[in-house]
Amino acid sequence: MKNLLKYLSVSIILFLLNSCEKGFEDLNQNPEFPTQTDIGPLFNFVIQSTQLGGDEQLFMHNEVIYPITQQGALTAETFQNTPRGTEDIWTRYYTSLANVRELEKRFDEYEGDQEATSNVRAMVKIILAYQTFRVTDLFGDIPFFDAGKAFQSLDNLEPKYDDQGTIYKFLLDELKWANDNINTLPDPKTSAGEAYLNFGNFDNIFNALGNNGNENVLLWKKFANSLRLRYGLRMVEKDANFANPIFQDVLENDLPLIEEGEDVGLFPSELDWEKNSTHYSFHEHKKLRMGSTIWNMMSENDNLDGSGIFDPRAFIFFEPNNADEWVAFPQLPNVNTEVAGGIPYQGHRDVSYATKGSGNIYSPFNYYLIRDRYDVPEIMMTAAEVKFLKAEIYFRGLGVAVDQGEARAQYTNGVVNSIKFWQNIFQNTNIWENTPAVLSSGEIFSVANHPKINIFTSNDQLKLIYAQRWMDLFRQPWEAYALLRRTQATPREGAIPNYYRFTYPSTEIQNNAINWAEQVARMGVDSPETKVWWMN
């Protein structure tokens, strides 16, 4: 009867049938969004995704990482909502990864000469490596090879976890591929004469430096090699046989690296981007202050008037308390430590700068540094860091011969580069009013010669290299966290807490339940106390 009815009904209005679906396709077209796009806008999205999330900064950096690295000190207990931070970075990364996969797919499906995709492929590999290293360093093993592929196939909906060592080696190989395949000629063509694909103005990392055309790709090449040093060094204690040839390749072949003025990051003013997340993370979380550890790296003594400060970065990173005095919060407070308070990060300081609140008895982070929405970049890698990387490699003779002289030179240049970099930031900014004096190059060199940080007179030169790299990483606390975990030798007071990683986000535990359980079985327990692969 069912069929009879169906055919009866259908036959009766057969003449209407065509009109039954007439115009449906047009009607069902979403007027709000485009149905196609090019690789440029996709790449721009991936770059945009490298932004730090507000919750990552608030709940991971400010509440957990700064106190561990002792680049800052917490005056009171925290919200302890770390999962909100991990959820933030996890979502940002994997959303970006899906678009990286889309780009990779488009390159694979490119109908012309595959060589023409070399430069854009390399750029995607580099940004992917940067993002992936950041995430795996925080969590350890993560889903990677099968991850971000939900849009490609229904077989990839529940990605399994990959071993961090495998991810590291894969990405370092990819970075080498980038170096080997990036064509830096002004108007590159394939051997068949086909023009290379490029991202044009959609490359918002190096466009920001005012470079045009294909000049950017050289900077990408430099970024790739600099990353090879950073991450090669991170795994060197675990697998020197893999890491050492990287240093050898980069340094002995004199491959291009990030140099002074080529610091990599997102520069809001260049991007017409109003960066609010940092201020959010500080005004929502008011407890972070200058700690005694970093204070001791920048000042000869504890004079309240700051007369002991020798490192000008003190004036950039921090500011005096409500009484205009320089007071560090003790990294290891005791019962006699005075209770902190105050409102040094609230927006009222835009109009009432001096009002830090009566309880603000310890030096806060510099309000301008955390409030500025236009001129303080989100840093990915500075030229100074590259110098410190080279200093360590030469000092320890990793893949290259030990060269103390070169190490010391790189170190000193690193300090100088770093001070210049930070000095440039406040020099370029619009909102900083009572900016510190600008030091000349000579004055900056004399800072590097200050007995406290002079490598030529130091008893523990390697520790100084770590310390100054740690200083330079002031606004990349996750990098300082990795440095601490690897070297156990960054400046600090007291023991290193056994907080080695972040636990996986709760949505991952719930929504990728089977693979998470397998991962936990492999690693023992999903706890901060479980070391990541490259840690000893």
Binding site: L5, L8, N28, F33, G40, N81, A98, E102, A147, Q510
Partner: protein, 1111 residues
Amino acid sequence: MILKFTKGDFLTNPNYNMRSKFYLKISWSFIFTLFTVLSIFGQKNIIRGIVYDEFGEVLIGATILEKGNPENGTTTDIDGSFQLELGSAKILSLTLEVSYTGYATQEVEVKNTDPLEITMTSSVSAIEEVVVTALGIKRQKRELGYSTESFEGDAIQLSQAPNIVNSLQGRSAGVQVSSANGVDGGTTRITIRGNNNIDSDNQPLIIVDGVPLQNQAGLENIGRGVDWGSAINNINPNDIETYNILKGPTAAAKYGSRGANGVILITTKRGKQQKGIGINYSLQHKIIQPYRYRDVQNVYGAGGPTTLLEPTLPTDANGNYRYPTQDDIYLTDGVFGQSSTSIFGFYGTGVSWGPKMEGQIVQWWDGEMRSFDPQPDNLGLYFSNGNTTTHNLSFSGGGEMGTMRVSLTRTDHKAIVPNSNYNQTTVNIGSTLNISSKVKADVAVTYLNYQRLNSPTLGDDHLNSFSKGMIYSFPRSYKGLEKEINILPDATQNNYGGSFPFLYAGPNIWWNTYNNNTNLDRNKLIGSLSLNYQITNWLSARGRLGLDFSFAQFETRNNPIDALGILNGRYENELAKDRVLNNDFLITATNNGLFESLIDITLSVGGTQWSRSQYGLKARSGEWVNPWLFNFNNYADGQNSQIPREVFYDKKINSIFSFLNLSYENFLFLELSGRNDWSSSLPIENNSYFYPSGSLSFIATEAFDLKLPWLNFLKLRGAYAQTATDTNPFQVNFTYRTGSFGNNQTAALPTTVPPIALKPQRANSYEVGTTMGLFDNKINIDFTYYYIRSYDQILDAVLSTSSGAPSGIRINTGELENKGIEAIVSATIFQRKDFFLQTGFNIGRNRNRVTSMGIGAKVKEIANIWGTEGPTISVREGDEFGTIMGFDYQYHENGQPILNEEGTHYLVTSNRIPIGNASPDFIAGWNMKAGYKGFTLSTLIDTKWGGDIYSGSYVSSLQNGQSPLTLLERQGGGLPYTDPAGNNRNVGVVLPGVYADGTENQKVVHYLFKYIPNTGGWGPFLSTPGILENSYVKLREVTLSYHFNEKFNQRAKVFQDLTLSLVGRDLFYIYTSLPDRINPEGANGSGNAQGLEWAAFPGTRSFGVSLNASF
């Protein structure tokens, strides 16, 4: 002498004898001749009579048929009288069938009385009534193979419920109405036979005069929001003739996809011939009283968990008491050597762990000296009585040409919260027009204008939620000073010099209430026009055009707070138009006595074209530069916030359908239907889908000619139906997200994997049931068992973020089943001319199971109240719909919860796990109706039994020391405890549980540890203590009416009819399982997530009076 035909519907009245119709034309002249002869021949063959209702009032328009010769019939006139010619038949051997909507059809043996007096009794179960079924087709209820229930509009109107859906609460088996938290005018949730959709709407389709009404919820978010109500609030109860509830997909199969959750059919009034001048006036007025506030302690005032000593007020330099500031409430060191929040976790400034309120003189936070005394009424500071007044004037008349009714209604409502009200003006025209003997038209048009000023903020909101403020921000010593001082003499906002001590509910609630105004102005036109053409005596056709058009404007004006008239000024405007067209046709052929047999057959074929087109435009001003200028252009240089946002929706469904009714004699009825839809929202290859239904009913008492004294009617029925549902538009084609970064475009994949080959989701439903009439229909019993399996659900299956699609994948997956029983018993206990007593009881029990979540994760969160910092409502594979997930105790293998070594904190699971379920065990309603002379008293009691809620108000009230339960130890009812200063007081507790090694905790700790870190609230807390069983029994409604008798009306010479009524609604809970007078009906919003309560408004009751007069 005129031969009158039955006014029954030609199309569907199976009693109509088709064969004789064939001879009709031919016999026309003969009949006339014959009648003329007969009329001369025998006056005795005319029967005269009067039909009364149970109150002795005449019934106009009752149908009188000659039994066995249904062609011969008439209706009563305006005096309730009729006369019927009986041809050659002998009067005394005759039986008449007398029927009237809402009354039990009677068979009356003709006696030798003139006139014959017939008294009709209103039908409680109405086994015999004629009901409106799908597509507006009237059928005898006795024949139906599926369950429907119908209600008179008048009874619903009398209840003065906030809207017509609310008025159905407790009246219908298996129909669950959830009155959402808030004020009158808010959204109400209604489900029939449980939840059948994981991701999409579970509410039934509402059809008004054949036009499907768009009824989107005004608030779905249960955590927070402003509830602007849904379109159902605009339906005017005064204009409604009947409601019919078609339960489950069986009956609704004919409505296609949109009827899959059941259908509520509303028929508006059409006018009728009546006595007098045909004017009817009614007035309803009710007062809404907020009365049921959360129970609180009124002994201890403001104070944080900052000391283990006897709490005291802080003092100033001179030793005088001052009101606790935020710094006093959150100590960073104190006796613990740590911050109080690191010991106790997060709590609001509403903490009332301070000293006793004993009238101490305290310097208040505003600097004034005030006494620190109990404030038992401060929960009511924001509330006052509301009221609603409705006037309705209608004109009604009828004649040979047809009928007409014009109605004008005005409703004014003042809410129980300040600066909030609405009004509605409705014009309704309902008319039937007899264009010719074969063509009839039916027109219904409703135009309404609805104006609503402000709707209160519900649930969690830092700025505007007073209810949240009273739990989380304001302590028991709160005096509500801001109510008076929120505005300074120069009309600017008072910021209290920065001394405002309360956090988490803003200092500006009062300011915002009066100065941030949003006005909704909605114009709505619902119209339907249908033409019925009786082409031949066996073939008819009907065409209908239906329109539901809404045009709404939301305008927000936030007054600036400074003297310049700039700061925080805001202007927003949103225009939305929504147009639904629903056009259909239906061709029906009937043949009674098919092939000379006892089989009657009706075959219908029809088609529907439904389309909806929605467009919205919304924009706002930026940061102002021009004072007091409410427009989009008011923005500072460099801003672009005036760029408008748009909303689109376009969908069309074309359908054809056919149904076949077969009946054998008068006891076996079969109905088969098939429908094919083409939906624009599905991919071309899957956008055509067919679904069938069938139902069979068997009236055993007729078939076997049973004449048992106790059983006069027995019907067995069974039905099967499939429905198929499409989805929202704009999903089939892949689109990219776009934005901009670095002055360049960005494009990204969506966060949801778009559907690849979407197909309709389907539900198969089965039902069997029986209807019994006992003791001459004095007791009627209707029982139904149903089973519904919903599969191929279109949902956003949850994927792990690491898949790259954090919002999941839209796909046909997942499966649910619902099964349940519905029982309705109605009984006429006593019935005499002057006195009657009737009662009815209905119960519905639904069991749901999420049999499969299909692809992706096995749990899908559908709502939460505190983001990741609290419980959620989720759909979880293997559970019933409505799993409450939260942070639970960690249990030792001996079953005891584990505590830390100090015995102060329970260990909590690191992830949310199932801790409760919101599905009720059953819902039921019981009504009684008694009448004596003109008085009628009726009561309605309803219950929801079983099912959990997570009550955020309850746990926060414990945490903040507001609940009376927190008094126990503070008042010395605890265990001996030595505080840090060495004082021994009976304020200790031992938290039940064990240490990690399994040994029992015996450590006596301060009472603060019992309540603050271990009861719950926002933050990384235990959720389990907030799970409460939520059962209640409520006296929903009591009405008392007096119907003035005819003598009075005749004497007064003004009225044709006059009724006065009193109604009390939502009077009180006879039983509730919740502690602290937590509102059992306090869930916000009307989305699929029910079962979380947070910061609910007080319970309200209303008292109303109404007057109904005809002239």
